[in-house]
């Protein structure tokens, strides 16, 4: 029996603990415990009244058993009895048992509260201390109800012992945290503030914690604490290392109190009183200076305590964010720690710099450490430290270094710890989107993410890339090409199959002109992955297949054969089976028109906050990411200016003069006898240079959008801070239908909302438009839709104007945009052989039948994109027709109600980066 017991030892307890420790197996331990429980139960139930010592010993044994992890369902009453013992050690064990095994049995709580009440009134400081500790340990609402009124009195009473004051302050803090409504504010609050001046540093330490928490909720009431805290802090940091005696910790004066005071000051903005402010700045400078002094001790406790105060001071400097000098000094200090031999300091420096990165004063200073941080990512042996390095890179990322940081994160991802991979994936996805100047870079980055860490790419990430590709027509062709190439890899991640399937299903047509990615090759490539994929992915691929039926009628039978196979039609999975049956049926009975309608390209997604960001926030817990993001957002608009698109004042927009024609068609004579040929040349110019003309004084930005719509039917036509206008349209022969979606981006109603489609007199005779009125009220966040039925009577050159008027929060808004209904929408592609083409081309020799235009390419000439544009323009892309393989050739028929016009087109890219376009047309 080791003589390890000290104080008022309990021999029986020591023996029991020894027995348990000697048990060879879990079973033996349980057996011993059950024996003891039976013994204690019989003692408690026995006729003989137990003395205080025995009661204490048995209660303590129960406690031990409970702490071993076993359930205890008796002994509470005996513990409560101990509370009223006059022997301190018995009372103490009683309180300990209650603290650990609290139980909401109301009868018991009443008895416990009664005992506590007696002890609080006993005026015996040790008993009062025990009672206060118990209240703080339990901290229940019942306790708060019983004592929240009493404790403030004890706290501020003149005759309360210092040790009791300390306990009372922290006990009250605990109650305030659990039940703030039950702690009454009152006279005592001002007296609590003055505890900051108390002689006893222990009292100040405890009181500062309480004041800090109260000040957060009631800043006005505790405002006077600022100057008191500053002067107290000043006295501490300037004191000699031995002045504070017991409160000096390894040569650091009162580190706990210093940190708490610095924390209290973080509840307030910088002090307004210049004297107080100056004194605080001095304190902070002193702390920064002391950090540079040689250590007074080699012990780690010394450096830890000193640096704990330093880091808290830096937190305050960052919180105030008003002293550039201090911020930069803080950053330099942390920069030294980045290469310190102590892992803990490197960790903390990285962590602290994250917040410094969000201050405009120190952001640039933080950025200078980028190489060190990247190095940390590569060489640190502790995953916690690497995680901080990732966080810091994320925080210091801006437009200037995004490419480098994303590349480094991708690099690191290859070897990153499994525990942080998902977070890195989210961060890379967010940065790539946020700082993408070029969306092809974004697409490449996300595909790399999937390649490197496919398992960690959550749904949010691959949903987002699809949203972005669908909403940005400038990247669709590239995305299709890139996923197609990525899918060539023999083993690619299922997430890539999902993204690839979706994108090819929407935009596979954009690359189908290239024989290496012909419809059949695309289909075979996707289908080669099909059987290795999970059910949801296979379901997605089936949808891609049916979309292919619409995009590529030539492979319809191949796809139908696949759908018809037993493995699909009789698939055990009900979802797959249903899709196969329905898609097969759809492809068999529906006319091309119906197919085209059902399987139309997806409409653009409403612009919204990235769901990835939401996911990251959730992962990191509330508060941490949000704050940083908010600050960064503000900063980026302050500093980078151009980061966000310039806002558009809708009311300033005027209606354009009808002659200000975006396509520049106005120059051509407007007669039925001189149709499209004369104009299609300049129309083409606009197709190939997204922002060729900027004549129309329409809503800024809408020109660009309008030009884009020449080659596509769906997308966002216009957007400002209030309103988003989306379009979805379809054209068959000389008929069309356009859905216009008006989205109210604000939270306020639009009133008298009246969109009107205006055609000039000339246009009215060629274009027949019918619209239905929309509801004049558009609720905040709501979207209304308007249908326009379109009939092309004869060829035309202008575009109709969409004028929108509404009232928003008392101001009248009036804006106009061009509605992208252009002649090429009524193009039907025609396939023809090389011989036919050139025969017809030669026949069109009349000058009125030909137009030629030479223009400089505004963008690098990418064959795939050019092909996509030609297809989007509406004509057929004729492959292997022109003897010069560099040239592009197209043919189609423009359908109007009165006539059909055949149209041939040649595009001759020139080495000097010029394009020659020739278009011929013929009236049939």
């Amino acid at each position: 029996m080791p003589a390890v017991s000290k104080g008022d030892g309990m021999r029986g307890l020591a023996v029991f603990i020894s027995d348990i420790r000697n048990c060879k197996s879990k079973e033996a331990e349980i057996k011993r415990i059950n024996k003891e429980l039976a013994n204690i139960r019989s003692k408690f139930k026995g006729d003989k009244a137990l003395d205080g010592y025995s009661k204490k010993k048995y209660v303590c044994k129960l406690l031990f058993i409970f702490l071993l992890g076993h359930d205890i369902d008796f002994g509470h009453m005996e513990a409560v009895n101990l509370l009223s013992s006059n022997r301190y050690t018995e009372k103490q064990i009683g309180y300990l048992f209650i603290s650990v095994l609290v139980n909401s049995n109301s009868e018991l709580i009443r008895l416990i509260n009664n005992a506590i009440k007696n002890d609080l009134a006993s005026r015996n400081p040790t008993f009062m201390g025990l009672a206060l500790h118990c209240i703080a340990n339990v901290g229940s609402r019942e306790m708060a109800e019983a004592f929240a009124g009493e404790i403030p009195k004890i706290l501020v009473a003149g005759d309360t012992m210092d040790s009791v004051k300390q306990s009372a302050a922290l006990c009250l803090l605990r109650l305030y945290r659990t039940s703030p409504d039950l702690v009454p504010m009152g006279d005592w609050t001002s007296r609590v503030v003055h505890l900051l001046n108390d002689q006893h540093l222990g009292v100040v330490t405890a009181a500062t914690s309480l004041i800090t928490t109260l000040a957060q909720k009631n800043p006005e009431e505790f405002k006077t604490s600022v100057s008191l805290a500053v002067s107290r802090l000043s006295r501490i940091v300037t004191s000699a290392s031995t002045d504070l005696q017991d409160y000096t910790y390894y040569f650091v004066p009162a580190p706990w109190l210093s940190v708490k005071l610095l924390r209290l000051l973080q509840c307030y903005p910088p002090p307004e009183d210049p004297a107080v402010r100056g004194r605080l700045t001095e304190c902070l400078e002193t702390i920064l200076n002391k950090a540079q002094e040689p250590p007074k001790s080699k012990k780690v406790q010394h450096s830890n305590a000193k640096n704990a105060v330093l880091f808290e001071a830096i937190s305050l400097i960052i919180h105030h964010d008003s002293e550039p000098n201090l911020l930069v000094r803080a950053c330099n200090q942390l920069g030294q720690f980045l290469q310190h031999r102590e892992t803990n300091l490197r960790y903390l420096a990285l962590e602290s710099m994250c917040t410094l990165a969000s201050s405009e004063f120190s952001h640039e200073a933080v950025k200078t450490h980028i190489e060190t941080v990247i190095n940390a990512l590569k060489t640190e042996r502790d995953v916690s430290v690497r995680q901080r390095a990732v966080d810091l890179l994320y925080a210091m990322c801006d437009r200037s270094n995004a490419q480098q940081i994303v590349a480094e994160m991708l690099n690191y991802l290859e070897t990153a710890d499994y525990s942080i991979r998902e977070e890195i994936v989210l961060k890379v996805a967010i940065l790539a989107e946020k700082y993408a100047v070029d969306y092809t870079w974004y697409v490449d980055t996300i595909l790399n993410l999937i390649r490197i860490a496919g398992d960690y790419v959550s749904e949010e990430v691959w949903y987002r890339v699809i949203q972005i590709v669908i909403n940005r027509d400038d990247v669709q062709g590239y995305a299709a090409k890139t996923v197609f190439e990525a899918l060539q890899a023999p083993a690619c991640h299922e997430n890539l199959v999902k993204v690839g399937g979706y994108i090819l299903g929407e935009f596979g047509n954009l690359i189908a002109g290239d024989p290496r990615s012909s419809p059949l090759i695309q289909f075979n490539l996707l289908h080669s992955k099909f059987h290795l994929c999970s059910v949801p992915t296979r379901a997605l691929l089936l949808s891609t297949y049916i979309k292919f039926v619409n995009l590529f009628p030539e492979i319809k039978t191949t796809i139908q054969d696949v759908l018809r196979s037993d493995s699909q039609l009789k698939n055990a999975d009900v979802e797959l089976q249903q899709r196969a049956v329905e898609y097969l049926r759809l492809s068999t009975i529906a006319s091309t028109d119906i197919l085209a309608t059902v399987l139309e390209e997806m409409p653009p997604f409403p612009e919204r906050e990235s769901s990835i960001l939401a996911k990251l926030k959730k992962k990191k817990g509330p508060g941490t990411v949000t704050d940083l993001e908010e600050i960064k957002k503000e900063r980026s608009s302050d500093m980078n200016g151009s980061a966000e698109p310039a806002s558009v004042n809708a009311s300033a927009v005027s209606t354009p003069s009808p002659s200000a024609d975006l396509l520049g068609l106005g120059a051509a004579p407007l007669t039925n006898s001189a149709p499209a040929p004369s104009s299609s040349g300049s129309l083409l110019v606009d197709v190939f240079s997204d922002s060729a003309s900027a004549v129309a004084p329409l809503a800024p930005g809408s020109d660009d959008n309008f030009a884009r719509f020449v080659c596509k039917n769906n997308g966002v036509l216009f957007e400002n801070q209030l309103l988003q206008i989306g379009l979805k349209s379809e054209f068959r022969q000389n008929l069309g239908r356009m859905f216009i979606f008006y989205g109210n981006k604000t939270s306020t109603q639009f009133l008298n909302f009246t969109p009107t489609v205006i055609c000039s007199d000339d246009l009215q005779s060629s274009l027949n438009l019918q619209t239905k009125p929309v509801d004049p009220t558009v609720d905040g966040g709501a979207q209304v839709q308007q249908v326009v039925n379109i009939e092309c009577v004869s060829d035309f050159m202008e575009a109709p104007i969409l004028n929108i008027q509404f009232r928003y929060g008392g101001t009248f808004q009036n804006l106009s945009v061009k509605l992208p209904i252009t002649l090429n929408k009524f193009f039907q592609p025609t396939e023809m052989s090389s011989q036919d083409f050139f025969q017809r081309w030669k026949q069109l020799s009349n000058p009125k039948q030909e137009v030629q235009n030479i223009f400089k390419a505004k963008h690098p000439m990418d064959a795939e994109i050019t092909k996509a544009k030609i297809i989007g323009f509406g004509s057929a892309l004729l492959e292997e027709v022109d003897p010069n393989p560099a040239n592009f050739v197209g043919a189609g028929i423009i359908h109007t109600k009165t006539t059909q016009i055949g149209c041939l087109l040649r595009l001759e890219p020139n080495l000097q980066a010029q394009l020659i376009v020739t278009a011929d047309s013929n009236m049939k």
Binding site: P2, V4, S5, K6, G7, D8, G9, R11, G12, V15, F16, C60, L67, G69, Y88, Q92, L96, T126, L132, A136, N137, G139, S140, Q166, S167, L170, C171, R174, R177, T178, L201, G202, T205, A206, Q216, D246, Y247, Y249, P255, L257, V259, R263, Q266, Q301, N304, A305, N307, F311, E312, T343, N344, R346, Y347, R381, D382, S384, G621, G623, T624, D627
Partner: protein
Amino acid sequence: MRQQKRKIHFILLFSRQGKLRLQKWYTTLPDKEKKKIVREIVQIILSRNQKTSSFVDWKDLKLVYKRYASLYFCCAIEDQDNELLTLEVVHRYVELLDRYFGNVCELDIIFNFEKAYFILDEFIIGGEVQETSKRSAVKAIEDSDMLQETVEEYMNKPAF
């Protein structure tokens, strides 16, 4: 203004073999939840090697830990709290135990677990440091041992 809830959420003491020696909770949780947390954290910390930092992210909290001989001391603090000072909270607690027991070892804490709890209560209340002076904290405990008994008295007590 950012909410500054900075307190210790719980303190765990466990051996290198993963045996829990002391647990102090400053947030109210069901027993089942506590057991789960203990299992998880003991496993996380025991699996870390020696040269690493003393900090681990855990859910939305941060674990700050240090090993003294055969015992790990681990505090769970809020993300924004002061990590280095928490390490010194642990150190100060070890010093208090040492002062009370004299060269404290794991066995002292096993056989006198209730004293380890009392000393902690004198030092920390509701997750906040109450008294940082070693002298004051130990004195409070020693006051409670005023009724020191002799070895004979101890040996005369029943051994069951």
